[in-house]
């Protein structure tokens, strides 16, 4: 561990040490883990920004095999931080930016690339309105947070459906279309008004149809969406959740999202985000998450975290042309030349867990750096490329990772938890929604929270709700149901269901299709109406001990959901949205229809009714005037009248 103490200032020494590390690479996993815990136990004097960044650098140095590189990175950062310290006497906003790209060759032969960008800022948007100087944190979002008193904000835009059976679990799940959920501060008095305004503002920021979120598709889940940041209140009156399953995500949503990054798409990993390639994929998802997080272990200070992620899955078949190989250039039509200068860390992780002897694929250029992280209940090994190091780019001054497949694609996976949903039945009057949840764990049962938000025009018959596992009734231990109001709010159904080991649990509920008013139909009524994904949140038993230390330095992709116990990890699964046909009038000839209907009603019904209800008698013609007079005289005389 000599290198750990030494500071390498000169390249020769550096290379020498590197080679030493290469040599001892295989034996180093255990001591390094010790190192991890050691440093974690050390209390960090996080007072000044300069020292803090330096400390961070030191932490990084404790990562496996990264001592030398991390140290020099720390050097660099330390210099930069102290420079700013000297130049400006006032305390700088304590912010920090990290970026990373995780590439996971999937079981099915596809490639999963996940970009993670994190901006941390130690400030308080709520205290006063003085936050006016923004450095790394995007101003547009900062203003949104302070104006609407947002405590947490989560947006995702997704095009496509994550295929759990083929791809396993994603690092960060998201439903097809747009999803938005926001926790407001408890100081907000009129949450609905703030929500309405917020959705409109976000709609402008992200060029999306978020303004279509209104009371008919907003719900307040009682249990499924707990705050992910620091928790001091979980009253779900301050939570709003909405999805737009029909939202189509494209370039116009990506551009504003890229602009939120400190380096934009000019430098760093973001240069890879070329829309013509990203939207030429099997799955695309971009998210923004804002939440308050603890700065340190004791949680004395909090800071705001902005996490931007972009997940994309590339299809091997479509552009493989028979050759089964992938490179950064092939995927993104760009290579990497530098890290974002504003980033404190910039790394590429390649998942090589399933490939210890390179039997599945071949990776080039090879990297000596390996890192381990516990992700989704599994300990994974990653090859790490640190972009802050010039050596990563080699002599050609650009990094173009290449993955060459050797084996054919495998069978389908059996993820521990997955779910699907469909509409059963036929005809346009009634139907049945089936939600099927699979627990593939051989011997452990675990509870899941099912959230269903169904639009009002499907009138759920909640008395027909059944939950069955293995052919037997399964009584949910918690049910929260809020009935819909026509044209006002959707149905909300939340249930806590215990999934028995190795079982299929089916939740069914029947519904009736409402006949809408004719102005309420969409322009394409025969396409059908969308019902958003149901959300299944679960604590799935983990095969390895999970990391419960939230402040400990971890790769970004593995540290999003806070983990409270070692034996299980949090998973959220979204089912597919549904497309339901409602009874639809023939809009193609409304004029004919109206005319015909009116004619039939007026002529046919009217006169038939007349004929049936009246009795007709022949009326005597009116007597002549002379006769009237004659009769008048006769009446006076008391003589019988003339007929």
């Amino acid at each position: 561990m000599a290198a750990y103490v030494n500071r390498c200032s000169n390249l020769l020494v550096f290379i020498f040490i590197l080679s030493v590390f290469l040599f001892v690479d295989s034996q180093q996993t255990t001591p390094v883990n010790e190192q991890h815990t050691n440093t974690a136990d050390n209390p960090q004097p996080a007072a000044e920004s300069a020292t803090q960044t330096a400390e961070e650098g030191r932490w990084e140095a404790t990562e496996v095999d990264e001592a030398a590189l991390g140290d020099s990175a720390a050097d660099k950062l330390g210099v930069r931080a102290s420079d700013t310290f000297v130049l400006t006497p006032t305390p700088q906003p304590k912010d920090d930016f990290q970026e990373e790209l995780v590439i996971r060759p999937l079981h099915s032969g596809d490639i999963y690339a996940s970009f993670q960008f994190r901006t941390l800022w130690e400030t308080d948007f709520m205290r006063e309105n003085k936050v006016s100087h923004y450095r790394l944190f995007p101003k547009s979002l900062g203003q949104v947070i302070s104006k609407f008193s947002v405590r947490e904000l989560h947006i995702s835009f997704t095009q496509g459906y994550w295929r759990t059976m083929q791809w396993g679990q994603p690092f960060l799940p998201s439903p097809p279309g747009a999803e938005l959920w926001v926790w407001f501060q408890d100081s907000v008095t009129d949450v609905d008004a703030a929500w309405k305004e917020l959705t409109n503002v976000l709609s402008g920021i992200f060029c999306a149809s978020l303004n279509f979120i209104d009371s008919t598709n907003t719900v307040q889940p009682s249990a499924s969406f707990k705050p992910l940041g620091i928790v001091n209140e979980t009253d779900h009156r301050f939570l709003r959740y909405a999805t737009l399953p029909r939202e189509i995500v494209c370039t116009e949503n990506l551009t504003p999202w890229k602009k939120l990054l400190p380096c934009g798409s000019k430098a760093g990993l973001a240069v890879l985000l070329k829309s013509e390639k990203l939207f030429h994929s099997s799955f695309f998802s971009q998210t923004v998450h804002i939440r308050p997080v603890c700065q340190d272990r004791e949680c004395k200070t909090t800071s705001w975290e902005l996490r931007q992620t972009l997940n994309v899955v590339f299809d091997l078949h479509t552009s493989g042309q028979g050759k089964r190989e992938w490179s950064l250039f092939k995927m993104f039509s760009r290579t990497l030349t530098e890290a974002c200068p504003l980033a404190s860390s910039s790394k590429i992780y390649i998942d090589v867990t399933d490939n210890p002897q390179e039997e599945y694929f071949e990776l080039s250029p090879a990297t000596p750096l390996l890192s381990q992280a516990v992700v989704l209940g599994d300990r994974r090994t990653f090859s790490v490329y640190d972009l802050t190091q010039q050596v990563t780019f080699g002599t050609v001054r650009s990094l173009n990772l290449l993955i060459r497949w050797k084996s054919t694609e495998g069978d389908m996976l059996r993820p521990l938890l997955h779910a699907e949903r469909y509409v059963a039945g036929y005809g346009l009057q009634t139907g049945e929604i089936h939600t099927v949840m699979y627990n593939n764990h051989p011997f452990r049962s675990f509870p899941v929270l099912l959230l269903d938000s169904v639009p009002w025009y499907l009138r759920l018959y909640i008395h027909t709700l059944t939950v069955t596992s293995k052919g037997k009734d399964n009584t949910p231990s918690y049910i929260h149901y809020q009935p819909s109001k026509d044209r006002m709010r959707p149905h909300l159904l939340e249930m806590l269901v215990q999934l028995p080991p190795h079982s299929v649990t089916e939740v069914t509920v029947q519904f009736e299709r409402a006949l809408l008013k004719w102005t309420e139909y969409t322009p394409d009524p025969n396409h059908g109406f969308y019902v958003g994904s149901s959300v299944i949140s679960a604590l799935v038993p983990s095969s390895v001990a999970m990391d419960t230390n939230i402040t400990q330095e971890q790769p970004l992709f593995s540290s999003f959901f806070p983990c409270k116990e070692e034996s299980s990890y949090f998973v959220r699964v979204y089912t597919e949205p549904l497309l339901v046909n409602l009874p639809t009038p023939d809009f193609s000839m409304p004029y004919n229809v109206i005319c015909l209907t009116c004619t039939v009603v007026a002529v046919g019904y009217g006169s038939l009714y007349n004929l049936l209800t009246r009795s007709f008698q022949i009326e005597e013609p009116n007597p002549r005037l002379a006769k009237k007079i004659a009769n008048f005289i006769r009446r006076i005389r008391g003589v019988p009248l003339l007929s």
Binding site: P176, H317, G425, D524, N526, E576, L611, F616, Q617, I618
Partner: protein
Amino acid sequence: MGLLSDPNRRRALISLLTRLNAPICVLCYFAAVCWFMGLSFEPFTLRTYMSENAMGSTMVEERFPAGERALATAKEFGAHKKKVGGMPVDWLVKTMQARGLEVFTQRFSRTLPFPDENNERYIVEGTNVYGILRAPRAPRTEALVLSAPCSPGDDNNQAVGLLLGLAHYFRSKSIFWAKDIIFLVNEHDLIGMQAWLEGYHHTNTTGMDWSPLQGRGGSIQAALSLELSSDVVTSLDIVLEGLNGQLPNLDLANLFYAFCQKIGVLCTIQGRIQRNDWDSVSGYSHAVQTMMLMVMKQASGRSWGDHGLFLRYHIEAATIKGINSFRQYKTDATTVGRLLEGMYRKLNNLLERLHQSYFFYLMPSLSHFVSIGYYMPAFGLLAVILLLRALDLWVQLATPPSRNEDGVADIEQSSTGVLSVLTPLVISHLTGAALYMLPVRFQEMAVEHFQVSETEAVVLTAIAVYTGGLALPHNTHRYWLISGEGTEQGWRVLKLVAVLYLAVLLGCTALINFSLGFILALTLVPVASFVTPHVPKLLSAVVLVILSPAFTLLFSVFIFQELQEMPVSFQDGWMLYLSVISQGILDHYLYGSLVYPLIALMVYPCWLLFWNILFWK
């Protein structure tokens, strides 16, 4: 309507209608027949045109190259099929997986109510294999289906081969797709398809056992079923008639026709090539025959291909059949593949379900169609006869007994009338219920007591119950001696009720299945008009029997064979007739066809009422 509210003019009109009732009825009948025959005369029909914008102007370029490879796959499939002696499930799963699909299987089993002698099956067990090509960046909300039945013997191997070839090609071009595409190979043709559709929609209408499906693609927008049994074809035939006479949207037929025209494939409907000489007699009779074939097929209420079962789920579907005859010009598998590719890419462009074009139509040729607005008058003219007869009877009933305006006397009349009408109504419907229930219920008993197979037992029981019903009216007389009132009045009330009943029954049937309604009306309306107790008994009885539903079916069998240019002798025709009855009953139990219950529970009892009137004493 002012005409009717003036009592004088009303009286005049009614007297005119009653006086000229018989000539008007005869006139209407012939007008209806003429109208119907005129439907297939080309100047009276409309040209087909594409209504759906999403499929219209945007032409796609078809590039499917791998017809030869598909045929090689077909051979391989045939070899594996022979080796396994049925559906080679494992091979199919492996092959589909190799083509990059998500593959699932479904097991199903069904015990038929009685053995099906045409297809030689009784206890059916099988497996459906389907692979889903997931569209990139689509959230699994919409899907298209391409299916090919795995038939016994060497049939249909090419269809499966082409299906796999297309799957491979579609997967490699997966950037096109906005909807998931499901490639389905179903065993035991319609039964497998029924199991798959029931599994997909999680319904159970016919009591079949199936294992639940694991993978789905959302709501299915359209489906094509492929039947190819030779490496090259001379023409492609499209089959539209589905269960209960349902038809897919006309745009699906238009799409097929448009692509056949574009690619230059000979296409047919009802297996008959289109002719251009509409002004010659033979050209006209060709069109009439084509349309009559469609009417016959539609009236049968059967599914004439695997596609027919999709229609219940509001999925537009058609079967495309490759026909290999002795013509010179042949089309190879690559061209058929290109045609299918084009159709799927157009269907993939759909933004809404197919709904723009007609759902109710008849086709005298693939390029011309008769819409509901044109053919309904033919039926309307027949229905008018029934209403005129009913009016006549009503007037006869209302006038003789009392001249004292209306009200009290009439009500008394009708109350006795209702009572006397109730008994024959109940008895004839009980006979109908017996016809519906007994054949299948008592097959074991019949097999024990007579030397027949189960199928024969069912059919013969049905015929026995049917003829037994004819004997009933003589017996029923004794029960309604209570009515005492003049029997002249009694039969009029009964006939009035029967005529109105028939009018409603046929009207409803024609709305759902025009062909069935029209054919029934053609035979039953004359019966309903002329029958009284005063006509010569023997002659009328013969006429009545000849125009009964059972004989209508018998004639239809012969006419159908004649139209298909496969005339049969009377002996063969009779055997065919028996098998058609058993198939009809099976269709009802297996797929939920409604023709058998409609005939047994409604039409036959209605006809019995007229039989009853004839033998009124």
